[in-house]
Symmetry: C2
Subunit: 240 residues, 2 copies
């Protein structure tokens, strides 16, 4: 089993994805929202790249059945039901609902890696379950931190590094790491006792603090709060 | 002063380069060769992307005045005078000579970043001098590890991380790091007491060992053997 991770969020070469499990990670905050919402009973999530697509998609479904969520520049989108803070996505609001989500980096990322064999949403909330799922798949793994507007994101790479670390510790078979995977694992080892410290160093973490979302940093650093592994298939994210 | 580093060797967006000092790093082994050869008295080095270009360029100069060096798949190129081991580039061979160099990753990298304001060749051999030069320039810095056939290279990123670490320690003014720069600095801090350990983990390090160049790993890990800072300008690398 080979594990690769990409440090930039530019579209990876399709050869890097075919026959692989791909894990999309956007800790602050799209995949944290996705995992949290599904663990609170959302029936499915449609990740879309643009606000326009989201409004168009919402028209297709009966009112009250679907909710619009997401952000632009970390702020709520006018006309949307929910923002991009995982704490908003609680059972009272989202249980049984179909969510249409659009964010700056994370929702776009699922479409960028859509040629992968199986595409999972990863976050600290479900990292143990994602590691288990990767091991069971017995396929090579490509980790795709969705990044910060095309740039490397410390918190996403760190989560990828934790996934690598867990797989190595849980795995019995031989695992081969690329130089990027070694690098991500080392990053995780540096911050494993204080993930929030890394979130405070990161560009996007600082931006969220400036915009009043500091609480989300500690919230998104919670580990293994659910065993749910959302899978992206034919444009829709569902629980496995 | 902002410091950015790229983890992949895909061509960086020109916006990331304009008005910046760019440091090209290919520890195993192109920029190690370049810095070493210039410190041994080579008059100038022409880095080229292909073997064909190298042969064409050699015809332009009188025989005996120019030497051809480089590698493909880490092996010597038939018809070339020198390979890609820095140890070959000693004064007895290269003093006063013009070198035409072509390697898989490193020589190409100079052309990829040619829109930078000032383009330096960095290696562990001259890292202190490069850090000093970056501080004196008072410009933003873009570090370009030339990588391993498009992939992230542990040893190049590590050297970039050491450069960042040195600049922060030497610098008096405010320095802003991107998430990628923090990541590289953390990588360096992990391996700073044993660079060769990292070279043994790296994909390209393992490849060199398999091809009989293990000695080059320890050789290229030598720090501050010269204060020379080669600069790439109009297709040619010269000492400052």
């Amino acid at each position: 089993m080979q594990i690769d991770i990409q440090f930039l969020s530019s579209p990876p070469h399709p050869n890097l994805l075919s026959d692989r499990v791909v894990v999309v990670i956007d800790i602050l905050r799209a995949t944290s929202v996705i995992v949290h919402a599904m663990s609170q009973g959302a029936s499915e999530i449609i990740p879309l790249a643009t606000v326009e697509e989201a409004f168009q998609m919402a028209k297709v479904f009966p009112r009250g059945f679907v909710m619009l969520g997401g952000e632009r520049e970390s702020k709520n989108i006018p006309g949307f039901d929910l923002g991009n803070s995982p704490k908003e996505y609680v059972a009272e609001r989202v249980k049984g609902k179909k969510l249409i989500l659009t964010t700056t980096n994370g929702t776009r990322a699922f479409h960028v890696v859509s040629s992968g064999k199986e595409i999972l949403a990863g976050s600290f909330f479900n990292i143990g379950a994602v590691a288990q799922r990767c091991l069971e798949s017995n396929r090579d793994l490509f980790i795709f931190p969705s990044g910060d507007e095309g740039n490397c994101s410390l918190e996403d790479t760190l989560c990828g590094g934790m996934l690598i670390d867990l797989i190595i510790k849980k795995g019995e078979r031989s695992i081969s790491l690329t130089d990027a995977s070694y690098s991500a694992q080392i990053l995780y080892q540096r911050f494993k006792d204080n993930l929030v410290e890394a979130f405070h160093l990161s560009h996007h973490g600082k931006e969220l603090i400036n915009r009043g979302f500091e609480d989300d940093l500690a919230y998104c650093a919670q580990i293994d709060t659910t065993s749910l592994v959302p899978i992206f298939r034919e444009g829709v994210i569902r629980a496995k």
